[in-house]
Each structure stands twice: as C-alpha cells, then as structure tokens.
C-alpha cells in the first residue's frame, strides 16, 4: 500500500513538473537563472539533480531517451551555456545506455551484429557532428536545435512503429553482415526470429542520425528506432533495445570530442548523470501504475514548447 502511495505521489510529481515547465510558474526559476552567479554554489547542482530525477522518470514513461529531454529543457531553462549542456547531454545519454546495455545484450533484445555496422557509421558521423556543433555560432545551433526538437515532437506524434514488420527476403547487404537472429518474447513465450531488409538506405540514414546526435548532444533513440523498425524491418522490441545499446557507441565518440574541448563541468555533469539514472530506475517501477500514453502526449507538448523556446533564443526573440 505504501509502495502504491509512493508511486501515485511520484506520478503526481511528474504532472506537477510538466505543469511547471509549461506554465508561467517557471518564470520564477528563470529569473533565478538570470541571477545565477549570485546563488550559492550548491543551488543549481541541487535543482539540476531533482530536475534530472523527474526527467529520468518522464523519459521512461514516455519511451524517449534522457538526452532528448535534457538538452532542450536544460539549455532553455537553466543558466548553463549550450556547449556544456550538449557535452553533459551526451554523457547523460551515454550513462543511461551503458547501464541498460548489458541486460539488453544478454537477453538478445539488443544485437551486436545489427548494432555494429550501424554504430560504425553513426559514431564516425557523430564526431563530424560534434566538431561542426562546436565550430558553428551558438545561435545557429540553437535555431537548428529548436527546429530538430519540433521535428522530433512531430515524429513522436505521427510515427506508428510496427511490433513485428514482415521481412519476406533479406537483402544482400543484410545477409553479408549476418543481420539476423532470434529472441524470446516473454509476454507470449514465443521465439521471434528476425532479419533485416532495405539495409543500405538504413545505413545511409545513420549518417544523418550520427551527425545530429553529435551536433546537438541529444542521443538519437528517437531516430534509431523508426529507422531500425520501419525501414530495416527489425521487430520493435529489438529496435528499441538495439537503439538504446547503439547510443553507448554513438554517444561515446561525440562525448570524447566535447570532453576534450572542455565542455564537461563536473559540478553540472555529475548531478545530471546521477539524477537521470535514479529517475530512470524509479520510472521503470512506476510504469505499471502510470498511464504512459497520457504522459507521452504531455512530453510531446513540453518538447514542442522547448523547441519553440530554443528557436526563439536562437533568433534572439
């Protein structure tokens, strides 16, 4: 009973958070951000920790990665420069992917043979994206980030993933790369066999995904899943698992670039990583009592709001 009470309380906290960031109430926090340097040193790390804790819960309930929420919201509403937010955003996505990766790999919900060729392309391009992101003026990145976030919100609204796409015949590239396998679906007790098709267009799209992941520090689960599932024909569960694992490789390459350029400040990185990871654990536990669909729609609204804000910031409005 106590456990249920905690879960309901957490769900209410999530709704309170969503109301906060999408209402004028946030103006108070923003005003504090403006006078950020006058606050004691521990103020922003603590606010960031709790913010990321809630973000972690939300990310799980909405079925999105932490990075995609972290970068637009933290860059929009906290006093940190976008350079540091992107560097930390990659570390946040990376830590989440590294923590989830082993379980996914062991149960065949992520597959090395599917991930590796895709990861090679995405991680190489993420380096290019990170270098571009650090070379371009901040307002240009902010505008592009805003447009991308609005696009992601639209994608989350419109994209209808397929549980088990039909792949009649594997293509030559998929066959040569041995992109096939099987996993046990626990809900039905069925062994699901899978193979890929349209592998070449899929691999080409990972060029764009890699560049965007590196440039904006977003992680790229929002793009990985539709490409693996809808285009290449991997079952949804495998696509989600492999996508999460893929982030541990793609984000690593870009994270190194940001790290080497000085974009990681421990006082903001550590509370973000720990807060988001703890939030993800709680999120998984309350998934049973929450209504993820409703939360997913609210997250889409918050993302749209954050995207518009990033656009306006970039345009100097």
């Amino acid at each position: 009973m106590l456990r249920n009470g905690c879960r309901v309380l957490t769900v209410k906290a999530v709704f309170l958070f969503l109301w906060l960031v999408s209402s004028p109430a946030w103006a108070t926090v923003e005003a504090a951000a403006v006078e950020g340097s006058q606050r004691p040193w521990w103020f922003w790390p603590i606010v960031l920790f709790f913010f990321c804790f809630i973000l972690g819960i939300l990310a799980v309930l909405a079925g999105v990665g932490g990075g995609v929420l972290y970068v637009p919201l933290v860059s929009g509403f906290f006093p940190f420069h976008l350079d540091f937010v992107r560097g930390t955003g990659l570390l946040v996505a990376l830590a989440g992917a590294l923590a989830a990766g082993p379980g996914l790999l062991r149960r065949n919900f992520a597959n090395l043979r599917l991930a590796l060729p895709v990861a090679l392309i995405a991680s190489s391009c993420a380096i290019v994206g990170a270098l571009l992101g650090l070379a371009l003026p901040t307002n240009i990145i902010q505008i592009a980030l805003g447009a991308t976030i609005i696009f992601i919100a639209a994608l989350l609204t419109l994209s209808k993933n397929v549980e088990r796409p039909v792949v009649e015949k594997q293509d030559g590239i998929g066959g040569a790369l041995k992109m096939a396998g099987a996993y046990l679906e626990p809900s039905t007790g069925e062994n699901i066999e899978w193979k890929t098709h349209r592998t070449l267009p899929g691999l080409i799209l990972f060029i764009v995904i890699g560049v965007m992941a590196g440039m904006f520090g977003l992680g790229a689960g929002w793009a990985n899943v539709p490409v693996l599932n809808l285009l290449m024909g991997a079952p949804l569960k495998l696509s989600v698992g492999t996508s999460k694992f893929l982030l541990s490789i793609t984000d690593t390459s870009a994270a190194w670039i940001y790290l080497n350029q000085g974009c990681v400040i421990p006082l903001m990185a550590v509370p973000s990583i720990v807060g988001l990871m703890l939030g993800s654990f709680v999120g998984v536990r309350i998934l049973a009592v929450a209504k993820p669909k409703v939360i997913r729609y609210i997250v889409i609204i918050v993302l749209t709001f954050a995207g518009i804000r990033a656009l306006m910031k970039g345009l100097g409005i």
């Binding site: 590294l98 790999l105 062991r106 065949n108 043979r113 396998g181 000085g262």
Partner: protein, 139 residues
C-alpha cells in the same frame, strides 16, 4: 510450455558482462570522486563557489579565462578535486573501446573477416575521437 530462449552469441555475453562491471564501476568512482570534490577534501582547480561564473559562457571563453587544458591536459590536474571527477567520466566514455578490444579475438577465432574489420574500424574511430587530436578551437 515456454520454448527455450535462443542462445546469445558468446561474444555478446562477454561484451555485456564487461560493460556491466565497467559502467557500474565507473559510476561508483564518479560518486566517490564527486563526494571528495564537494566536501573540499582536495583543493579544486576552479574554486567551487566560482564555477557558476563560467558555466554561462561559451566553452572557448571558459577554456581561455579559467585556463582549462584541452585534450588530455586534465590528467596533469588530477590532484585537484574537480578534475578528479574526470576519472569516472573517462572510464564511462572509454568502456566501449575496451569491450570491442576484448571481443575482437572471438571474431578472429570465428574467422569472421567482415566483423574483424568492423570492430577494428570502430576502435580506430573511437580512439581518434578520444585522442584529442580533433578540435576546432571552439567558436
């Protein structure tokens, strides 16, 4: 009766186990070093109450004004509480390279030329990113 789960390739299991211990080890180190940092046991390179003066500025200004070393220069500052945190962060970012190097012999044993090449290329790409050789000097 529930069918037996399809076997997971051994190299995938090795990768998963290594990733599990490496990542959680890195996060544990990160928590300890952060505790050392905020408790003030070790002196910080940038005094902790001055950090907020820097995080609103572009990274190029921060690096210049706070005299932050780029690339692997942070290694020389590991005696400071703030840079001590880089041990855990670098371990997190380096785990993938270690995992690929460890599973490479599996593909060699299987004589899987395609995956041998892919793993070697992936390690090279990640090492290039990690090397600190790539950089634009910021904007």
């Amino acid at each position: 009766m529930t069918p037996k789960a399809p076997p997971t390739p051994p190299e995938q299991i090795t990768y998963a186990n290594l990733l599990f211990y490496g990542s959680w080890g890195a996060i544990a180190i990160l928590l300890i070093t952060f505790g050392v940092y905020v408790s003030g046991i070790l002196e910080s390179y940038i005094p902790i109450n001055e950090v907020s003066q820097y995080w609103s500025m572009p990274v190029s200004h921060y690096v210049h004004e706070a005299k932050i070393p780029i690339g692997w220069g942070w290694v020389t500052l590991l005696g400071n509480g703030d840079f001590l945190n880089f041990i855990g962060i670098v371990l997190l970012a380096g785990m993938t390279i270690v995992c690929f190097l460890v599973i490479l012999p599996n593909y060699v044993k299987q004589k899987d030329i395609v995956f041998i090449v892919l793993v070697i290329l992936e390690v090279l790409v990640l090492c290039l990113g990690a090397s600190g050789l790539l950089g634009t000097g910021g904007h």
